[in-house]
């Protein structure tokens, strides 16, 4: 049982990490807790669902298209909702409030368009049978989610660390004003990050929608507190931290079900997060940086 539970923890943790990657990117660079991330995540899932059911596309063609669509939505949110607030002396939580408005608008519009009920991808979109390795059972999709989330994390880390573009993004994350003086196209970086983060979020929506057969307008909502927990635990805007944070939450949840009580699962998971923050007040990989409330 322990082997199977470790696999369960790994796959659940990868799901959380996948959701959190784009979330943490926006948080790190734009310094906004983007509460519309769950709505973009949902939009990605619906986009792929439409492409598969209405346009009869293969899921692996639909996935990148859905990511493009949700990336565009993210860009739209940034340009319409967040850009007007940049450079104005607004309360630093105002952008977050604006994203709540965007989330409310998008999810409820989606409910108006698609209805309130749960949909799933048609049978046979992907192979659903699980196979046995030793004492554990796993599906191809579960393996894919683990691999994809690790690959995306590595890819993002390499881009951020090794490329000119990545250096620009990091510079903007550190200090937008100085970056501007250094000749970096700060607005361009913001647009790029918004697009990429939303595309990642949308991709996560597709994979999670595929994996759990639960596509509905509010599908992003239960993931929001968990996503916030993961990115803050990992440390502000740290891609590696989001991965570790996601895995940690997955392990904490699965193990508290396995060895304690499923009744207290969320209390155990969030209680542990609480304790970790007391020991490491800036998260696992956080820069030691005082930011005011």
């Amino acid at each position: 049982m322990i082997a199977q539970q470790l696999i369960n923890a790994l796959t659940l943790g990868s799901v959380y990490a996948l959701f959190a990657l784009g979330f943490t990117l926006v948080f790190g660079v734009l310094e906004v807790i983007n509460l519309a991330h769950g709505a973009v995540f949902m939009a990605g899932a619906y986009a792929a669902l439409l492409l598969v059911t209405k346009a009869n596309l293969n899921i692996w063609v639909a996935l990148p298209l859905a990511m493009l669509a949700s990336g565009a939505l993210g860009l739209l949110i940034d340009q319409i909702v967040l850009k007007p607030l940049r450079g104005r002396r607004a309360h630093h939580l105002m952008p977050m409030i604006a994203t709540i408005g965007a989330a409310t608008l998008i999810t409820n519009a989606a409910q108006g368009i698609f209805g309130a009920e749960t949909s799933r991808f048609p049978l046979g979109t992907i192979p659903e049978e699980s196979f046995q390795i030793g004492t554990i059972r796993i599906t191809e999709l579960q393996i894919a989610i683990v691999i994809i989330s690790f690959l995306l994390m590595l890819l993002l880390m390499v881009i951020l660390k090794k490329t000119r573009l990545g250096k620009a993004v990091r510079a903007v994350a550190e200090n937008p004003q100085t970056s501007y003086l250094l000749g970096i196209n700060v607005e361009g970086v913001f647009r790029l990050v918004s697009f990429t983060a939303a595309a990642l979020g949308g991709g996560a929506g597709v994979l999670i929608g595929l994996s759990f057969n639960a596509i509905f307008p509010f599908m992003g909502q239960p993931l929001m507190p968990k996503g916030i927990a993961v990115i803050i635990l990992g440390g502000m805007g740290d891609v590696r931290g989001a991965m570790v944070g996601g895995l940690f939450l997955g392990v904490a949840e699965v193990m508290s079900v396995a060895y304690l009580s499923s009744d207290y699962r969320d209390a155990v998971a969030f209680g542990l997060l609480f304790l970790i923050l007391l020991v490491r007040p800036s998260g696992l990989f956080g820069r030691v940086l005082e930011r005011k409330a």
């Binding site: 309360h91 939580l93 977050m96 709540i100 408005g101 608008l105 969030f270 005011k292």
Partner: protein, 285 residues
């Protein structure tokens, strides 16, 4: 007209009560924000207050005043206990820690026998009256007016502006932060107790993540320049869904749209005194 007014009051008195309770919650989070603390624990404190007051009425048969007092006291004590280790955190890390605390509280409500699990507590008698809410709000507003010019108020202000500098000036930042946190919890607890006694019912899902964010949204939306802004903001957010009822299925979408528009055009919140001053100057010029 008196007939119309009677119908209006019979229809909307709960809404008016709700607006009052939301104003209290807004003040409770404004208090912590004014000391530079971003807390997402206020919904949990409200929940502790609501359950305590409701149980005091249902199980102990205490008079309403005492039930409310307990509903303020227990959240205050809990805030004191968790505040001591937690308040060294700042910014989003504090928000995360208080969010975690809130989740733990919600799960405890779900699993305790005495709180009725997911069924919650029902049959709570109607005890809250308009004057209770008004009286408490008047007292609070008076307190906030006094606070602004007091030593404590100036200390809060200093900590919010720059905690390190405040410490260097000899301000005991830990005690002041703890004070703001505990007072915020007490106000939220009393608001919860009042709410429980005009809605007949409390359940754990009213005190989770979404309500915590809602309380913060009301305050920021209204503007945190003074204590008036949060009250105005939360009142508007409480009334808006009722005003938009005629939009049927689209009312929440429009609600979101209004939130975006206000944030874009009034980035300091609805109650922006600098903006008012500018408008006045423009008007007189």
């Amino acid at each position: 007209m008196t007939d119309d007014l009677q119908v209006f009051w019979a229809t909307y008195n709960t809404l008016v009560y709700t607006v009052g309770v939301h104003a209290m919650l807004a003040l409770s989070i404004y208090l912590t924000l004014s000391c530079g603390l971003l807390s997402l624990g206020n919904a949990a404190f409200m929940g502790i207050g609501a359950y305590t007051a409701a149980l005091a009425t249902l199980r102990l048969g205490l008079p309403f005043g005492e039930a409310l007092a307990l509903g303020g006291l227990l959240p205050g004590l809990v805030a004191l206990v968790i505040g001591i280790p937690t308040l060294r955190l700042s910014g989003v890390y504090l928000a995360m820690a208080t969010l975690g605390f809130g989740e733990v509280v919600r799960v405890v409500f779900l699993n305790l026998e005495i709180t009725g699990g997911s069924m919650g507590l029902n049959g709570i008698p109607m005890k809250t009256q308009l004057w209770h809410i008004v009286a408490i709000l008047v007292v609070l507003v008076y307190g906030f007016v006094r606070l602004r010019r007091s030593k404590i108020g100036r200390a809060f202000e200093a900590i919010k502006e720059d905690e390190t500098a405040a410490k260097a000036m000899g301000i005991n930042t830990t005690s002041y932060k703890l004070l703001a946190f505990v007072l915020g919890a007490i106000i939220a607890g009393v608001a919860g107790g009042l709410n429980a006694h005009f809605t007949f019912f409390v359940s754990p899902r009213e005190y989770g993540f979404d309500p915590a964010v809602d309380i913060l949204t009301g305050a920021i939306f209204g503007g945190t320049g003074s204590f008036v802004g949060p009250m105005v903001g939360s009142a508007i957010l409480a009334i808006l869904p009722e005003l938009l009822r005629f939009l049927k299925a689209f009312r929440l979408a429009v609600n979101g749209l209004i939130l975006i528009l206000v944030v874009i055009y009034l980035p300091n919140g609805i109650w922006d005194r600098k903006l008012f001053a500018r408008l006045r100057r423009k008007g007189s010029a």
